[in-house]
Amino acid sequence: MEASSDYAVQMHGITKTFGSFTALDSVDLDVKKQTVHAILGENGAGKSTLMNVLYGLYQADAGEVYLGGQSVQIQSPLDAIAHGIGMVHQHFMLVENFTVTENIILGDEVCHSLGVLDMARAKKEVEKIVREYGFDVDPDAKIEDITVGMQQRVEILKALYRGADTLILDEPTAVLTPQEITQLIKIMRGLVARGKTIIIITHKLKEIMESADACTIIRRGKYMGTVDVSKTTEGELASKMVGRRVNLTVEKGPAKPGETALSVRGLHVRDGRGIEQVCGLDLDVRVGEIVGIAGIEGNGQEEFVQAIDGLAKVDSGTISVKGEEIQNTIPRNVLDHKVATVPADRQRFGLVLPFTVAENVILERHGEETFGKGATLDYGKVRSFANGLIKEYDIRPADCVDSLAGGLSGGNQQKVIIAREVSSKPDLLVAVQPTRGLDVGAIEFVHKVLIRERDRGAAILLISLELDEVMDVADTIAVIHHGKIVGTFKQGTVSEEEVGLLMAGGGKQ
């Protein structure tokens, strides 16, 4: 396609390699002015890399970039900003202990002479944009005190403050409720109406259908084409993205619930700052069923899991596993009650990255006599145990037993954790965000293991921020809001909208 002034952004033949790995292989992107343009691809397909090239964080090895028909060289984020490009990163780029205003003006400060900050004028300018776009943001609030949705708006404000005409949003809905997503789409439409162009990176088909005008698909660093969203279907997008027919549903037999494995009554837990996050939570999980907890980030899920695992102090209430109370004990005791957890943050809690795979699979079980008599550790036995798991769970590369866990791909790191947790044959398996950041194949694998464990006779507690995952995988859906379960439903008896409303604190009680 020729460069033309009808287009806000055109990237032609972009190639980017990291060492020997080709992240982008001659990718094209043509974004019409005043549209919402989606970039679709799996985790690792190269979407973010492409946008980082546009934003000047990476330099492409080959290819041309045109803005409004003009060829440009973008060497740094400063260049991008000067060309009217703004980016909202998936992991927000906000300094937590700065105020909203400080974050917005950082790098482009409002000053008296000699670089002395003029915070009064800065605040006024921020307020002006806030009013203009109808955002609900307090310029004096500290980032650490405001909600995730609000933080996202600060990120958008940062770009607008710099006069961005083109906004890149990287996975903007990952942390939002269905209602907040609706609101974000409204904001995006409002921005387009005011002359802005929006590029949204996502792997969620539904949002593309709802919000985008056009969609460019990338698969494993290769350009797969651009489609007009109004003339396509979710199924078509999905097969283009993955390269094969995708089974969008999870296959499983009916649950056969048995005795209660986990029973939580009147649980109250405070977070590290002393604020109560779990406020009277009641929940039962029986063996042979998957209970999925749907909720927005920060509604007590984290503290709930910490309380189960013995990492957070319980103020009142009980957590019983097979009838025995385990609250306010130590993690070791919880593990001894055959509770296994797949943590949300696999690199922080799940693995010791500089340990080998073999060392990682015995993290919880190194004390067992099978891995060495008395105080000693028999690495021969540890390695053969690890090799068994590597084979069983198809952890790649197959000879990784002595490789460092930090060198594995995200999907394989997750497999190591799941293999370890499941290998102890737990009575209760708590899986927190088990598929975050994984691609379709790995997601399928994780779901299969959860269902297999359910059928083996474990109780599964699935906690996820992805509503689709909870709706698809769980036999029972429990909605958490403000540290309480505000609704419990059998799978198939409730709509996504109803759950979404409960997640946001509305709806029937």
Partner: protein, 305 residues
């Protein structure tokens, strides 16, 4: 009574001034995200370079400049290691604490016929000429000009960190370097500047010992001040004003040690422990889990590799 008070004040300020410069150096470096355990070594080099500059030129002010320059050069090493090469900042700091006194003493021996101490050199002036005070209590007021310079440095650093755009940027680099980089702020450059500046300040700190207090360089001129300055950084919660006050407190305990030293109630050796015991107690009871800059000590590796 009054002259005792004046004396305590004088001694407090005297002991605290080298610490103030060292601590301010620590603050600026750590605020940008680089742990600087090498302050001690940089002070040591500054202590010698100050004397050498004053010895050669006869002008203590030139000596002071030399001290800043030498401290900055040593800090450059630390910056190269910790910013460019993502080295372990603690080990790099330890290396500098070995290297810098070695260089200082080596140069000292070269310059002063193999002696481990320098000649007495011209020192910086006093702030107030007390000769006219006669017998009044104020006559024991002994303030070096470095006391004022330290205070000015603290005020300026506070103003720069909290009231100017450079300060905002430095703080953002220490808290969230990725965010700074996306807004066009160079993390590497900011850290280089801050680390070098920390060395310059530490150099001044060393010189404020040798050019104001003891008027010569000896092997033990700087013995632990750099480390106490680091404690002051933490105690002062990584702020220039906090660190300044913490240094005053350390200076005050030193003054108490000196003042009480004459009595026989408490053995001098036990009294000498006071500043250190107090630091630990203060940390236990008043600071608790301190809030270091989030990216402090974490090497920043740029996205494009």
């Amino acid at each position: 009574m009054l002259d005792n008070l004046v004396l305590v004040l004088s001694i407090t300020l005297m002991y605290s001034t080298p610490l103030v410069f060292g601590a301010l150096g620590g603050v600026i470096s750590e605020r940008s995200g680089v742990t600087n355990i090498g302050i001690e070594g940089m002070m040591n080099v500054g202590a010698f370079a100050g004397v050498a500059g004053s010895y050669v030129s006869g002008n203590p002010w030139i000596g002071l400049l030399c001290a800043g320059l030498a401290g900055g050069l040593v800090a450059l090493l630390h910056a190269v290691a910790s910013v460019t090469f993502n080295a372990d900042q603690t080990i790099s700091g330890v290396a500098i604490n070995l290297l810098a006194p070695g260089i200082a003493l080596f140069a000292c021996r070269r310059m002063f016929d193999g002696a481990a101490m320098s000649s007495v050199v011209n020192t910086l002036p006093k702030l107030i000429d007390t000769s006219g005070f006669g017998d009044s209590p104020l006559s024991s007021l002994n303030l070096d000009v470095t006391v004022l310079l330290g205070l000015i440095a603290a005020v300026v650093m506070w103003f720069v960190l909290y009231r100017t755009k450079w300060g905002l940027r430095v703080r953002s680099v220490g808290e969230h370097p990725e965010a700074s980089e996306t807004l066009g702020i160079s993390v590497y450059r900011t850290r280089y500047i801050c680390v070098i500046l920390s060395g310059v300040l530490a150099g001044f700190g060393g010189a404020s010992m040798t050019l104001a207090i003891i008027s010569q360089y000896t092997q033990t001129a700087i013995s632990g001040q750099g480390f106490i300055a680091l404690a002051a950084v933490i105690f002062g919660k990584w702020t220039p004003h906090g660190a300044y006050l913490a240094c005053l407190l350390f200076g005050f305990t030193q003054a108490l040690t000196v003042m009480l030293g004459g009595g026989s109630v408490v053995p001098t050796q036990i009294l000498a422990m006071l500043p250190y015991v107090m630091t630990v107690l203060v940390l236990v009871f008043f600071v608790g889990r301190s809030v270091a800059p989030k990216a402090d000590g974490v090497p920043y590796i740029k996205g494009s590799r």
